[in-house]
């Protein structure tokens, strides 16, 4: 029992690290434009397929086996695809609705989400069913006492934490980060101070997409299997994590993600229903958090725009 528990905790941490990469995008975009970007999960999914496409068609055969060459290139490919899709989405779908009532962009986001899922299913070769993802990283797992963690899982945790710290530093220290925080606090005043909100929003979407793209490729390497549905599922988890941590807060998103990862994996062994119901428990958690603590762990109370 103890061994199982430790194993589930380890799995939960890896899963949490993955979710964090997506949740950061949600939290940044929501913090700045108050939009639940439903399609952000699809950006993650597209990133995974971008990485796979890079492996399949771009990398020469002799490079495919050398992980320290292949994997960075795949991540780069995934990130490029993610960023392009995300920026196109912002420009075409969301920007025209900047001043529309809040329902409009939310429904647009749903439309974009469905569109991207279907576009991948229809136009990526054979993507109508799940696609095997090459195990490019070191395949020997790490064994610590009773716990076995795949090397790719360790990589995921490391990358996730490093990127979150970098992001935190960027937002707190850089000029653009300051502009972001200003826009999030008060877009109109920020504009008066000479900040171009369009630029801030584009950069925000791009940063979210970079993280999601990295997450997508590492997800593929970790799970070794991707399909066009991974975006929606993990997107909802990530959103839950972002809300749990307090939407708009980077630290909150990361901690919320680890909580979600642990809840999901511990629910598999501890809560009634087992693996079949772990999703249900996450949704229950989401509802409880939204109803009783919508400001989350580290966020401010939600500002309601009429």
């Amino acid at each position: 029992m103890f061994a199982t528990l430790m194993q589930q905790i380890a799995n939960g941490i890896v899963f949490g690290a993955l979710i964090a990469l997506v949740a950061l995008g949600y939290t940044m975009v929501y913090g700045i434009v108050q939009l639940i970007n439903f399609a952000h999960g699809e950006v993650f999914m597209v990133g995974a397929f971008g990485g796979l496409a890079t492996y399949t068609w771009v990398l020469p055969a002799d490079v495919k086996q050398i992980w320290y060459v292949a994997l960075p290139l795949m991540v780069l490919g995934g990130v490029v695809v993610s960023v392009l899709i995300s920026l196109a989405m912002e420009r075409i779908a969301y920007r025209p609705l900047r001043n529309a009532p809040r329902l409009a962009p939310l429904i647009t986001a749903l439309g974009v989400s469905v569109f991207l899922q279907e576009a991948v299913r229809l136009f990526y070769p054979n993507a109508t069913s799940a696609q095997p993802f090459p195990a490019t990283f070191i395949t020997t797992p790490l064994v610590i006492g009773p716990v076995t963690v795949p090397a790719s899982g360790i990589l995921l945790v490391a990358v996730s934490i490093v990127l979150a710290i970098l992001l935190q530093a960027y937002v707190n220290r850089s000029r653009m980060g300051r502009a972001m925080r200003a826009t999030a606090q008060d877009p109109d005043t920020a504009r008066l101070m000479g900040i171009n909100p369009d630029r801030v929003i584009v950069v925000t979407f791009a940063i979210g997409a970079v993280l999601a793209g990295v997450g997508g490729v590492l997800y593929g390497v970790y799970i070794n299997n991707i399909d066009n549905q991974i975006g929606f599922q993990n997107g909802v988890f990530a959103f839950t994590a972002a809300v749990l941590g307090g939407i708009g807060s980077i630290r909150g998103a990361v901690i919320g993600s680890f909580v979600i990862g642990l809840v999901k994996n511990l629910a598999d062994v501890l809560l009634p229903g087992g693996t079949a119901y772990d999703y249900v428990w996450i949704f229950v958690l989401l509802i409880v958090v939204l109803v009783f603590a919508p400001q989350g762990l580290f966020g401010e109370a939600e500002r309601v725009r009429a």
Binding site: N99, A100, L106, G111, L122, A276, I287
Partner: protein, 565 residues
């Protein structure tokens, strides 16, 4: 495209529009394809003959001819709203030409199918497209013209006659739309384009009539004689089995549309009136369906008891309503998009639970099959019936049942909208804080909105269970919720005809366009984005009240005037 508004232009002669009309007529007469298709000639099999007999017009060429002639005549009159009429006709011509051109090119293997080759020449589609484009471009600014208003009043008998005739025409149009192109799929490879082409023509026709002010006038007339219109409309709906759509297949399609239309009207209460975005709405329909399935005496149901249908439907509605209150209770604390997420979470919880066969009640992946048909008053609902000397096809009883269901939800919606609680909902939609300050008990009102919507959905679900005979969790996915939401938004939030029109479009299109079924969701997602961008108020906008989605400061490109009139 001139920058000058056509409103100020009173000259009779409109060279560009006239050229467009002439081009349309020519396009109708010219050949459209250069060769005969494998499945048989496109025109012949699609009842559009033009290979051997270019002047024997039928099908889409007839539509084009009529539109062209109409545009020609209208262009030389001082008809009020002329620009609007011409523009609508132009869009119709453009739609019809585009559909047929795209089909010929894609199925004929390229532009050779519609261009000169092998001595034959076929430029019909180019000329038709040009005609439509000219008509639209010349009247691009027609929205600046005021929509003509017909003021003359009629004696009672004449008003009733007008209403009778117009609703009869609606019935025929509905029947023709349903049957346009035939069954589709393998039965007729041309069904998709024929249907789409017909839809384009019908849209152009309705747009043109709207431009003259006729439709608004009939609308006002029917509002004045409300009870009579409702009765005639009900009669017309019940008369559908007597038209060309009167066979088992179309009855089934119509019944399915009806179920979703009823559900969409219920959703319209929650989203359209109270402004609470519900992304898990289909779960209520699912709860109703599973309750009805368990009470139907189906072999696979856990309870194994058989309750008469009417009672089962009531129980299903009540249980769905109870869940509505549960799902609605977070609205006391949660607002806006957070609420949308809560409803989404509830919807997903329902689906996961149903998928895992919770309590043995949902059958899990096996679903609950073989739900017996409804039996009421000694009638078995799957069988054909004979009333008097009239032989009606099988499934017609379900259709009648569902027409009654839709009528019931419509009455409920209409009465609620104009009631005290309805006004409270609209006030909440517009501004919750102000509504509360005005003394509305917002919490109660919001929960009541969820309760009403869920009850209606549960009722629809009960009918759905018996109608389809199998209830599976797969019928109640997140995407179904989004589709219902899209139906409400496409039709127009807060209006009854909008929800019915939206549901009809979203559930007829996949039925008719099976050859494109793979692209259904792709186009659906795209459509959501485009609607939000270009016509957020929907096809039938709420005339009296600003819908949640139309900001006053956003300038809408397409005819926003009538939305606020």
């Amino acid at each position: 495209m001139s920058e000058v508004s056509t409103a100020g232009r009173t000259g009779l002669f409109r060279p560009l529009s006239t050229a467009g009309a002439v081009a349309t007529v020519l396009g109708a007469l010219l050949p459209w394809a250069t060769f005969v298709f494998n499945e048989g000639p496109y025109p012949a099999k699609a009842t559009l003959q033009f290979f051997d007999a270019p002047f024997a017009l039928s099908g889409f060429r007839l539509h084009l001819m009529l539109f062209g002639l109409a545009a020609l005549v209208v262009g030389f009159t001082r008809l009020p709203g002329r620009g609007r009429v011409l523009r609508a006709l132009g869009w119709g011509v453009l739609a019809v030409s585009a559909v047929n051109t795209v089909f010929l090119i894609s199925n004929g293997g390229g532009f050779g199918a519609v261009s000169a080759s092998d001595g034959a020449f076929a430029f019909g589609c180019y000329v038709g497209l040009a005609g439509g484009a000219l008509l639209v471009a010349d009247n691009w600014h027609a929205s600046a013209e005021p929509l003509p208003r017909w003021k003359f009043s009629l004696p009672l008998w004449a008003a009733w006659l007008v209403l009778l005739v117009s609703f009869g025409a609606v019935l025929l149009l509905v029947a023709a739309t349903l049957t346009a192109g035939g069954l589709g799929g393998a039965a007729d490879p041309y069904a998709g384009p024929v249907f789409l082409s017909f839809l384009g023509a019908a849209g152009g026709l309705l747009g043109g009539l709207h431009g003259t002010g006729l439709l608004s006038w009939i609308g006002e007339l029917s509002e004045k004689h409300r009870l009579f219109s409702v009765l005639v409309l009900l009669l017309c709906a019940l008369g559908l089995p007597l038209t060309s759509a009167g066979n088992e297949y179309w009855m089934t399609v119509a019944a399915n549309i009806g179920v979703y239309a009823a559900t969409a009207i219920g959703l319209n209460i929650v989203v359209g009136l109270a402004g609470l975005l519900d992304l898990g709405y289909v779960a209520f329909m699912g709860i109703g369906a599973f309750v009805a399935a368990n009470l139907s005496g189906a072999a696979a149901s856990a309870l194994g008891i058989h309750v008469p249908f009417l009672l089962a439907a009531v129980i299903a509605a009540v249980i769905a309503g109870i869940f509505g209150v549960i799902v609605g209770s977070p609205t006391l604390r949660v607002r806006g998009d957070y609420l949308a997420i809560v409803t989404l979470a509830f919807g997903e919880i329902f689906r996961r639970a149903a998928q895992n066969n919770i309590g043995g009640l949902t059958g899990g992946a096996n679903a609950i099959p073989n739900i017996p048909q409804v039996e009421l008053f000694g009638l078995e609902f799957n069988n054909p019936v004979t009333i008097g000397g009239l032989q009606l096809p099988g499934g017609v009883l379900y259709y009648f049942l569902i027409v009654l269901l839709v009528a019931l939800t419509m009455v409920a919606f209409g009465n609620l909208k104009n009631s005290r609680i309805g006004r409270a909902w609209i006030a909440i939609r517009e501004d919750e804080d102000v509504a509360r300050a005005m003394g509305i008990r917002t919490g109660k009102a919001k929960i009541l909105a969820f309760l009403t919507g869920a009850t209606l959905a549960g009722l629809a679900g009960a009918v759905f269970a018996h109608k389809t005979a199998t209830v599976s969790y797969e019928s109640f996915q997140f995407l179904e919720s989004v589709t219902l939401l899209a139906a409400v938004i496409l039709g127009g939030m807060g209006t009854i005809p909008g929800a019915v029109l939206g549901a009809a479009l979203l559930f007829v299109l996949p039925e008719k366009l099976r050859e494109f079924s793979d692209y259904r969701l792709l186009l659906f997602g795209l459509a959501l984005v485009l609607i939000m961008r270009f016509r957020p108020q929907g096809l039938v906008p709420d005339r009296h009240r600003r819908a949640e989605l139309v900001a006053e400061d956003v300038e809408l490109p397409a005819a926003p005037k009538e939305a606020t009139a």
